[in-house]
């Protein structure tokens, strides 16, 4: 058994890093776990203009590097271990990673979310050979090609706009009769002459041998049609990365962890922040703020203090 820690933080995206910064500054003993690179979803972001305090237009990769530097500056070294399960035992939180077990008095989940899949035949086979979940990551491979985006929210429209800068044509496919995206995004769509929208259809099949060559679309009556494309960008939503704490804390209908406005979950020693949390505005700046709040609240609980700053 490891020594008992005050806190463990699961995930080193921007929320987890912010939590770690505040934990260090509060003098807590803790570990932060991240099996991948520090920065999480930042690596899917090309250009960031809405995170005040960072330089306008900073890339996700540069911001991720800055998070690494921030940890290093505070002598925090993330453990490259995957937390597979969390449970309670004798008043402690027991976190089981792929390497060992850690005991702590509190836990902050900052595990983010993953892109939703279409769950149709060939999706995995064509991932990386025509099917993508991130226009910013893979869009450039489709320069002067014909691509489709599936979805109707901000992300789908933003991806379509992004792709239209270098693709030959972009077809936005949405199952409903109108988009959910912000007005100004929809206006931008109309300004582009190489984007068209297909409403009330879904993607029911993928065509091609080794590379994607086309889609099978289905309308509401199940009538099928074909669309030739070189690429398909799936932007139908995200799924929280919360398998490790299944059943331990309350979640919303989509599996996101429910907290109060101080990031506290239904379990007294468990806080959640960032994209794994049920929240109204999924942005970098809100995730970073939530990490700070979760960390200070965990501090209060651990130290029995009622800090009102």
């Amino acid at each position: 058994m490891s020594d008992k820690l005050d806190l463990i933080i699961v995930g080193a995206g921007i929320a987890g890093v912010s939590a770690a910064v505040y934990a260090r500054r509060s003098g807590l003993t803790f570990e932060i776990f991240e099996p991948k690179l520090v920065g999480g979803q930042l690596f899917y972001m090309e250009k960031i203009d809405n995170y005040v305090g960072a330089e306008p237009g900073i890339t996700g990769a540069v911001l991720a590097k800055r998070l690494s530097d921030t940890l290093e500056n505070l002598q925090i070294s993330p453990q490259k271990e995957k937390v597979k399960e969390i449970r309670q035992k004798e008043g402690f939180i027991v976190s089981t990673t792929n390497k060992k077990q850690y005991y702590s008095r509190a836990v902050i989940a900052a595990t983010g979310a993953s892109f939703k899949k279409l769950n149709i035949e060939g999706e995995d086979k064509f991932t990386g050979s025509g099917v993508s979940y991130c226009a910013v990551c893979d869009g450039f491979f489709f320069k002067e090609k014909d691509v489709a985006v599936i979805g109707g929210g901000n992300t789908a429209v933003e991806e379509a706009l992004y792709l239209s800068n270098f693709a030959n044509s972009v077809t936005l496919i949405h199952r409903r009769d109108k988009l959910r995206a912000l007005d100004y995004l929809q206006k931008k769509l109309k300004e582009k002459n190489n984007i068209r929208i297909i409403y009330k259809k879904t993607v029911s099949g993928l065509k091609g041998d080794n590379k994607l060559q086309g889609l099978v679309l289905s309308d509401e009556q199940g009538k099928e049609s074909q669309l030739s494309v070189d690429g398909l960008f799936v932007a139908i939503g995200v799924r929280p990365n919360t398998d490790f704490c299944d059943g331990l804390v309350s979640t919303d209908d989509w599996g996101f962890i429910v907290t109060d406005d101080k990031m506290k979950t239904s379990q007294g020693s468990f806080w959640a922040c960032g994209d794994c949390r049920s929240r109204p505005l999924r942005q970098l700046i809100t995730a970073a703020s939530e990490g700070a709040i979760a960390s200070i609240e965990a501090y209060k609980k651990i130290k029995g203090s009622y800090l009102s700053t």
Copy 2:
């Protein structure tokens, strides 16, 4: 009368700037008012290590400049006018500045708060060089140093407890013969062997050249003594800058504007964010996040949109 705007934002500290960034991206028509420099309380901060996304150790002045650049990049020019009064008229918000009146559909208050000062010589000079008004913000810079906290309420005691986690010694100085803080906080104080309390003395002078090195304390008879410290945390109260909206929205006992977790006040077209708001954690990162949330919520109300991002 000016043309009617969608939104006005009062204050261009980090909360107001974040609100403006999101307002621009949402396509709202708006003005942001700031009679002083963009950056607000940043100008009192010497070194910032807890704002993830900015470079570790960035100064408040540099971060303030970056907020200016962020506004400029989005072609937002703050109006250098002071909002003196806000009221409702015929379904609109009427903001009266020192120059004219503005009509808008919504308002976001981001006017911050002012720490009560000791009003002694050298206080401004040493602010950021030993004198601080926030232990959570600046405490970490006093690791293994000797610090003093002045005040006798909950905040002062909480700050002393917080600082005791990493400072070498903490001296709590209170002008009366007993503390006003809650009993359990006072009990915690006694458990700490690196905190001592000096009663019935005030801080009447600050010693040091470029950095604070000691305090002059005065007892009730005016007799002076000296105390060597590296840091002084002034915790004698904070006052929200909310005179302009007196009586229009609900406030807590200390005058801070009460909102729900989406930053909405008791008045349907009025949001508040940052330090003028009643909130559990007064930090730059939470203020920036709240500005974004307030802005998107105002957008939803104005455009009647249901934004799910």
